[in-house]
């Protein structure tokens, strides 16, 4: 509190008005919209847990949920930038399918003859090739949209058909399997998880980063005499963040390997099997770590780089952005190229998880990705949206899906519910925005 007194009066925070809750939000600068989403997610989780007789909120289900959300979450981060810049990309599912097929072909048919079967570099070469192809496809879409003036909706609608067809073309419709053993780690599962010790280490490093970020931003604000958060708010944020991170690690570490695999592992390594089975934790899954890294990277791109600033400025007022001297066309090309690259990462995750590349890989993903971004607060009118919101949106979508599966609801009804929830969520958001004005 002492810091506030030393700040010049002109820069002091407006005197708090309203109740305790208002003051709390003002002090912590927490995004109420984001908190609302987290609240909604918790409601969904608790609701499903009650209706599925406690099947939903188990380490096993939450762990699976995190893995299932990863692919959509990765693509949703890119979709945020697309939507913020007043565009849309309907082709992400098909790009995922095509790139997945290409990566599978590279690692099963091309590389074994060049560098040998199960070479330690196979996964990296396949992934890089996939990202390269994805970036080229996305960039190509972007060029048509920017320089030939075809609306993004049409270009990517065409892309939806073209790349789905092209995926079939690569192998004449054959399913390509199995994947390289290292590549498969990106899909999660028993081997694609990092285990208890490493998970705790990741959790602790994440906590340290959070604290460092808070300290650094406080120092910066102090240096330029900007208003500071009260100290208690800083501590509360740090504690809350660390609690959430370590809680997630704890849950991931509470999900043991299946009995049979654990026993086999114990036999192979000569570990005596205790009574009641051997407990080996999964820990955080690699696809989830990939998604989190992508999320951090994309948040950085969106908020800390010129490119990200331009994306938002274009979404807010394309004319003003152009008049300010921004090369708006190239920014658009870059946005779509980035989206293509993220599709490739998502393709790696989903094909590795399936241990195969099929023609149907990624079908309808574009709709889930757009829904995730929109539920996460990206405004289709452009100019507004957050990466974290979109990733949370992906988890919401996946929670609905897997919750209904646990409750044994038929597929057609699942789609009906998801559709209604999407419309309802956007309506709520519209209400929130009109009241916030």
């Amino acid at each position: 509190m002492t810091d506030e007194v030393t700040a010049p009066t002109a820069l002091q925070r407006n005197p708090s008005k309203g109740g305790l809750l208002d003051r709390f939000f003002q002090a912590t600068e927490l995004d109420t919209r984001m908190l609302g989403m987290i609240g909604a997610l918790l409601l969904i989780w608790i609701g499903f847990d009650v209706f599925s007789n406690g099947l939903f909120l188990t380490p096993r289900n939450l762990w699976n949920l995190s893995v299932q959300s990863a692919s959509i979450a990765v693509m949703a981060t890119g979709m945020v930038l697309i939507i913020v810049s007043r565009n849309i990309d309907l082709s992400v599912g098909s790009i995922l399918g095509f790139v997945g097929m290409m990566m599978a072909t590279v690692q099963t048919e091309l590389l074994p003859s060049l560098i040998g079967f199960d070479h330690p570099l196979t996964w990296a070469i396949a992934l890089l090739a996939g990202i390269g192809i994805g970036v080229m496809i996305g960039g190509f879409h972007g060029l048509i949209i920017s320089f030939m003036g075809v609306p993004a909706f049409i270009v990517t609608l065409g892309g939806l058909l073209v790349w789905r067809g092209a995926a079939w073309w690569v192998t004449s419709g054959r399913t390509v399997a199995p994947m390289d053993s290292t590549f498969r780690l990106m899909g999660g599962g028993v081997e694609g998880s990092i285990g208890a010790t490493a998970s705790w280490a990741v959790g602790i490093i994440a906590c340290l980063c959070l604290v460092l970020i808070l300290v650094h931003s406080r120092r910066q604000r102090k240096r330029f005499l900007f208003p500071l958060r009260p100290l208690w708010a800083e501590f509360l944020l740090a504690l809350l963040g660390c609690f959430l991170i370590l809680g997630a690690v704890y849950i991931a570490n509470s999900y043991p390997w299946p009995r049979a695999i654990a026993n086999r592992y114990a036999e192979a390594n000569g570990i005596p099997i205790p009574e009641g089975g051997l407990f080996i934790a999964h820990g955080l899954a690699i696809p989830v770590l990939i998604a989190i890294l992508v999320g951090v990277f994309m948040t950085f791109v969106a908020t800390r780089t010129r490119f990200g600033r331009y994306v938002f400025a274009i979404g807010g007022n394309p004319e003003a952005a152009e008049l300010a001297g921004i090369k708006t066309r190239w920014v658009k090309v870059k946005i779509f190229a980035l989206m293509g690259g993220l599709c490739a990462v998502a393709a790696a995750i989903s094909s590795a998880r399936l241990n195969a590349a099929t023609n149907a890989l990624g079908t309808l993903d574009e709709l889930y990705v757009i829904a995730a971004a929109v539920i996460g607060g990206s405004s289709l009118a452009g100019g507004a949206g957050t990466i974290a919101g979109a990733m949370l949106g992906a988890v919401v979508m996946q929670s609905l899906q897997s919750g209904m599966v646990l409750m044994g609801i038929d597929t057609p009804l699942q789609n009906i519910v998801v559709g209604i929830v999407l419309v309802f969520a956007v309506w709520l958001d519209t209400l929130y925005r009109s009241r916030a004005k």
């Binding site: 330029f224 780089t305 400025a313 007022n317 152009e322």
Partner: protein, 264 residues
Amino acid sequence: MDQNTTPLVEMKDISISFGGIRAVDHASIDLYPGEVVGLLGHNGAGKSTLIKILSGAYKRDSGEIFVNGEPATINNPRDAKEFGIETIYQTLAVADNVDAAANLFLGRELQTPWGTLDDVAMEAKAREVMGRLNPNFKRFKEPVKSLSGGQRQSVAIARAILFNARILIMDEPTAALGPQETQQVGELITELKKSGIGIFLISHDIHDVFDLADRVTVMKNGQVVGHARTADVTKDEVLGMIILGKCPPKATPGAGALAYSEAG
């Protein structure tokens, strides 16, 4: 004013057409350091179009632009900014969804040594400049959308002077403002003039411009009716130029003056 020095800007014989319509027809205009030139005319007279050519928003069909006596190639807004030409548009051209600091530095962001945005430094600079222009301005963290018309205007002006503009173009700068804010803008223009900046003031309302401008140039139907020093003419005479295209004796007639229109 010493008219013998090199003009800051000289636009010569500028023409541009949109779909067969001559929006600007062989218009010429100039501006000297520390001078305010009012560019007057009805809506659709071609004044905004002419000035958008200078600011790089439109590309001219023919004619030449000189900055400090040197021929200047201006093909886009970036080129114009390199010549120190800054524009405050009628539509205020701000990105509504980002905050004041982001708007001030849009297209020219400050970066840290690692190539990331230096938001803190930008906000500090924004606070400094805005503090000079509009000391009451406090809402740095909010998107520009939530600001009042006057506050948005001060953001637009701060943005133009932040980068040491030498030539400032203001398109209807007071159209969206209340009386008090209009007066603030007037004081600001006087300040900027003192520091040697040349200002084009565009308006369809003579009262906005007459007291602030040193000279006026009147346009009608895409042509220049005439140039005059505000000291030499009355408001009524300028009104006559705007409405009828009639050039008073002390003004320098242009291609669009009445005699020409009758003949054509």
